[in-house]
Symmetry: C2
Subunit: 224 residues, 2 copies
DNA sequence: CGTTCTGATGAAACTCGGTATCATCTTAGG
DNA sequence: CCTAAGATGATACCGAGTTTCATCAGAACG
């Protein structure tokens, strides 16, 4: 704690200066000076000025990718849910940093563009995963595109709500709710819409027998 | 035709040079020189270097906004469909420009980021429209977010497919298909998923009476 | 016809982000 | 003690974008 890493000092200096004087008004020299290093060193730790605001997106992206790749057939839903939770957890863990960044990004168009671009990278991971998961079913590409867009949108909606509320309430309840909604929506869509299902039972069948048949049908395909 | 506008000359010079020598390797001076004007003039017509590649996003955005605002209650679905079609039409109309830009954007990360950011602006329009449309229903914000993301994703999926195919086939069929899918998906979702509906008829009911009851139920709420 | 005003263009200087290069310093290891 | 390697600083450079001023063409007006 005596001497925090240069990377940390730079990031803190950057955010502090952006807060105080605005993003465009802050030069890389200013940041480096406050962190007590040279301009050269700044660019050794961050590729660009805005990188100092979004430090660990690559790590996070890798974690999401890893979680998705760790999924085996039949556990796709859990993989998606877990992966999204990983991202949200990351934000919640340093709530104060997330909040400062949120306020900052809201004011600086350049940073907003940067953030939107990084969101697209997450969506790409989900799209590829869901795409291979759905491969073979009708409209697989389209549905993968839509579902991945929805998954990411759901996460962002919950995250923004949490950030707007100042990080007060627990966001994982809403996240689960939103994800359940997404999954239910796109799962239902897996069966063609205009198919008509007629269930017929012999009028002699006992209620128990009917119930058992229904239960078997409902639990047949899915493990849980 | 004798003297095309400076704006046109600049855009053509830019795209041509980007194609020939690459984006980073082309300076604004090069573009201006080929267009026969000065560097100053370039920046009078385009705010930035990449602006020359995305000239009319603002106009298009305004057209989408206008179409959405022109909608009255009950015609929301048509408004969304029309608005998306406006965008796709714009791309299809100058197919060659769209194709060159597509290839260019695919190779240059800076341009890709720029494009992704502009997509977010479209989504925002749709989100706000769908949000007010759904206002009052449960989970309106979440569903507006998801549906707008899906609408935009559907458009982009169709557009990319059309571009990858070199602008060969007609894309409006696939677009309608995709949009119908989106609308059906999120319309169904309006009724809660886990509600269990049990229909019961007296065993004495004639088939005709049952059919009539079903027909009334199906056509009751919707005009068509 | 000449003057004047306006709008468009060009020229030049400047800031700053980002890259490349070289010198200097520190420090581990022999 | 010496050396090699890695981290840092200093400097120069390129190019995007902004600002300011000069110039020039043409329209309006007397």
């Amino acid at each position: 704690m005596a001497t925090p890493s240069i990377s940390h000092r730079l990031a803190e200096a950057a955010v502090a200066l952006f807060d105080e004087n605005g993003y465009d008004e802050t030069t890389v020299d200013d940041i480096a000076a406050r962190a007590g290093v040279s301009r050269s060193t700044f660019f050794r730790y961050y590729r660009s000025k805005d990188d100092a605001v979004f430090p660990d997106h690559d790590t996070l992206l890798a974690a999401v990718d890893a979680r998705l790749r760790a999924s085996t057939a039949g556990t796709a839903i859990a993989a998606v849910t877990d992966a999204v939770r990983i991202v949200l957890t990351h934000y919640v863990e340093d709530a104060d940093v997330s909040l400062r960044r949120y306020r900052l990004v809201g004011r600086v168009p350049a940073l907003r563009a940067r953030e939107i671009a990084s969101v697209a990278r997450y969506q790409r991971l989900f799209r590829e995963f869901i795409g291979t998961w759905m491969a073979g079913t009708p409209d697989a590409d389209l549905r993968a595109e839509l579902m991945s867009a929805s998954v990411v949108a759901a996460h962002n909606q919950v995250l923004r709500g949490w950030l707007r509320a100042g990080g007060a309430h627990d966001p994982f309840g809403p996240l689960d709710h939103a994800l359940r909604y997404v999954i239910a929506t796109f799962q239902y869509a897996e069966q063609p819409k205009d198919q008509i299902v007629v269930a017929a039972f012999p009028s002699s069948a006992s209620p128990q027998a009917v119930m058992e048949a229904v239960r078997l049908h409902l639990t047949g395909g899915e493990r849980r």
